[in-house]
């Protein structure tokens, strides 16, 4: 039997592979340490902190969506409750001079998230699919609305604030400066990412995937899908609480927006755009969405509209997200046929860019007329100045949009053809299925 098993089972990782694997984590840790040396400004450090928080939050969301197939519209509840409890905890620790330094405090947030997930999770995970999504929405609305009623705990519209510098000092840091907050967030991000990755390599993690793929079959191999979903829900709540705690520490405030629909929607956007099918998908999505929302808001007054349009475009054209799109090319890369599709991408890129430019021009012009009709019509969008009242601009917008659309449609069919030939070659080589 041992001979059969030694040849039938997948090979155990060789020492070289193990070194590569651990090396990856070490490199990540080193990169995080060195990042502030390269981008040292206060703005960059804040951005990095926000990205780190978003990474933890998005990965926790993907435990539900990508790994267990549960679409939640109310994940911000656990994020927000973690944040609120941490603010209260910091105040209590500060007043009573308890020996708890700030680096430990995110754990309190995590335990809060875990507690509420334990309480609310069994009922929430009874159903799956669309029913679960609606239930998550209802529960989130319940808690978010309660926040405005329980004013002592949630502080009403203004929220509750705390002073993070009053806690017990570790290595003489009071965590006032942003650089120290960055290191706190970076450390916790690394820990959380490693922990969540490890979870995917456990029996529970594997059964989460099984429940996602075929909950009926899972029952017939001895597992209760409800229990699996419940445990996944609890883990997701735990890590969301850590993310919320770090956000509360970073901003030194927690308010009802932490719990709200917008926050839940944002993490859904980030995770989905990054790609739910791969572990690093939400990491990519978190970075992309954080940078985009920070950057876009400077370029145009209606950045949220563009956000929504990008999301819809991803849902319709690239349901695998950014990582899904990239990974799609892996078989082609292995088969050496990637070069065949690249030229068609370049050709399709031009009319697509024209179409997008026309769309942006149209949107910005319409915005000018509906939002600020009295203002001067010379506006600036995406760094480009133009006169929104000029009929030439209108004509150009129409031509770019419609013309671009028609030409782009044609060129994308060419991309499809190039893909077909490239994939057939890969199939012959036995690389793609």
């Amino acid at each position: 039997m041992t001979e059969i098993t030694s040849s039938a089972a997948p090979p155990l990782p060789a020492t070289a592979e193990k070194l590569k694997f651990y090396g990856l984590w070490v490199t990540a840790a080193v990169a995080l340490l060195l990042l502030p040396k390269i981008f040292g400004s206060g703005g960059s450090l804040t951005t990095f902190s926000l990205i780190g928080i978003s990474i933890i939050f998005s990965l926790s969301y993907n435990i539900l969506l990508g790994q267990t197939g549960m679409l939640s519209f109310g994940h911000a509840v656990y994020y927000g409750l973690g944040g609120f409890l941490v603010i209260h905890a910091i105040n209590i620790i500060g007043v009573n001079k308890l020996p708890i330094p700030l680096p430990i405090v995110p754990l309190i947030g995590g335990l809060t998230g875990l507690l509420f997930a334990v309480l609310l999770g069994w009922v929430s995970t009874q159903r799956s699919g669309t029913a679960f999504a609606m239930i998550s929405l209802g529960v989130a609305e319940l808690i978010a609305s309660s926040a405005l009623i329980l004013r002592t705990f949630f502080g009403g519209e203004a929220g509750i604030s705390a002073n993070r510098t009053k806690l017990l000092r570790m290595f003489d840091w009071n965590f006032g400066p942003q650089i120290q907050i960055y290191y706190l967030v970076a450390a916790w991000t690394l820990i959380a990412v490693i922990a969540m990755y490890a979870l995917t390599r456990t029996p529970l993690g594997r059964m989460c995937n099984a429940v996602r793929d075929n909950p009926e079959r899972v029952q017939f191999v001895g597992y209760d899908p409800h229990v699996v979903r419940y445990l996944a829900f609890c883990f997701a709540g735990f890590f969301a609480g850590i993310a919320g705690a770090l956000a509360a520490i970073n901003f030194e405030i927690a308010n009802s927006a932490y719990l709200g629909a917008v926050q839940s929607g944002t993490v859904l956007f980030a995770t989905y755009i990054g790609g739910v099918g791969f572990f690093i998908g939400p990491i990519v999505g978190a970075i992309f969405v954080t940078l985009l929302s920070l950057g876009l808001s400077d370029l145009t007054p209606v950045w949220q509209l563009y956000f929504g349009l990008i999301f819809i475009a991803v849902v319709v054209f690239a349901p695998g997200g950014i990582t899904g799109l990239l990974m799609m090319h892996r078989p082609l890369l292995k088969a050496g046929t990637l070069a065949r599709v690249l030229p068609s991408y370049l050709i399709a890129f031009v009319p697509t860019l024209a179409m997008i430019a026309g769309l942006i021009l149209s949107i910005e012009t319409i915005v000018h007329y509906t939002v600020n009709p009295g203002d001067d019509s010379h506006i600036k969008a995406f760094g480009v100045s133009f006169d929104a009242a000029s009929p030439y601009i209108w004509a150009m917008a129409a031509i770019l949009l419609i013309g671009g659309f028609l030409v782009a449609r044609k060129t994308w069919t060419w991309v499809g053809h190039a893909w077909d030939t490239a994939t057939s070659v890969a199939r012959e080589k036995g690389i793609a299925a």
Binding site: V139, Y272, L305, I312
Partner: protein, 315 residues
């Protein structure tokens, strides 16, 4: 007391009818297409805003007819060019598509009409008092809303029971896959159903607009309650949606008019607890928690009767 009960009942039934105007379309769309239209409340909002704009230009009565048609046309287009493409990516993708759509519609409405409420007024021909109950004047406009809702239901019932397309819709409610096998043009039927469903939501918007506040956050406020109605009633059950709509309409209306609180009943908390979160709970009035009543109902149903009141289909 009696006066309050009668008025609240009238208002509650009215609210319930409005909810059912929307929930019925949502349920039929879900039963036939298998997708819960997250953007359904957005079409309600579009109906209100289109109604406002058209009544500004042409008057209320043309708006009552044109706005739902316009919204329904948009809905049909959404099904034809959007939902149908996403269908092959699975149910999650469909739900996310409608979620993104709801978000974008709200943004567009905000861009065009702004974030503040717009002045959508009751048409002068209906701006009088219909009757007086005890000492309160009950507005004729609300009676008009009630009449329109009932008329539409009667029309729907007739279409469902007496026409061929109604028969197909009924069949598709319980056996959606069979409809295609029977040779009907499923694509066109889906487009029609989606268009009519969203048009119904828009009608609710046009008539509710003058009575309630017409503002860009309408969809966000009413959307979750709509889903609670559908889950409580039982996903896929039209009678369930009807019962749940009336139930939630009445519960919420009655709650708003009640002034009771625990402190009112049992006396204020002792001074030690007066400034804690316990005091918040103790002192909160029923009127204050009226907005969250539907969600409390949701949780209760989930604990004690997860398939909903009259649910037949699981998702």
């Amino acid at each position: 007391m009696l006066e309050l009960t009668v008025i609240s009942t009238l208002n509650g039934v009215l609210f319930g009818m409005l909810l059912f105007l929307m929930a019925s379309g949502l349920t039929v769309i879900f039963s036939m297409l298998g997708v819960l239209n997250f953007a359904h409340a957005s079409f309600y909002m579009l109906g209100a805003f289109f109604g406002f704009q058209i009544s500004r230009w042409f008057g209320f009565w043309p708006a009552l007819v044109i706005a739902p048609l316009l919204a329904g046309a948009i809905g049909a287009g959404v099904e034809r060019f959007g939902l149908r493409r996403v269908h092959k990516n699975g149910h999650v993708a469909e739900l996310l598509f409608t979620f993104g759509l709801a978000f974008v519609i709200e943004e567009i409405v905000q861009i065009i009409w702004g974030k503040s409420p717009v002045d959508f007024r009751v048409p002068p021909s209906l701006d009088f008092s219909a009757f007086t109950i005890f000492s309160t004047n009950y507005p004729a406009y609300k009676m008009f809303m009630l009449l329109v809702s009932i008329a539409i239901f009667a029309g729907l019932l007739i279409v469902l029971k007496k026409t061929r397309i109604g028969l197909i819709v009924q069949a598709a409610l319980t056996h959606p896959h069979m409809v295609g096998h029977l040779g009907h043009n499923v694509g066109r039927i889906f487009m029609l159903v989606f268009g009519v469903g969203t048009a119904l939501a828009a009608v609710a918007g046009v008539i509710a607009g003058p009575a309630l506040v017409t503002q860009a956050n309408m969809a966000g406020l009413l959307g979750p309650i709509l889903f609670v109605v559908v889950v409580v009633g039982g996903l896929g059950s039209l009678p369930g949606a009807f019962v749940a709509s009336l139930l939630i309409g009445l519960v919420q209306t009655f709650a708003v008019s009640m002034n009771g609180s625990l402190s009112g009943a049992f006396g204020p908390l002792g001074p030690d607890y007066a400034s804690t979160w316990l005091a918040d709970i103790w002192g909160v009035t029923i009127a204050q928690i009226a907005p969250i009543m539907p969600y409390v109902l949701l949780v209760l149903i989930l604990v004690f009767r997860p398939m909903g009141l009259l649910g037949t289909r699981d998702t």
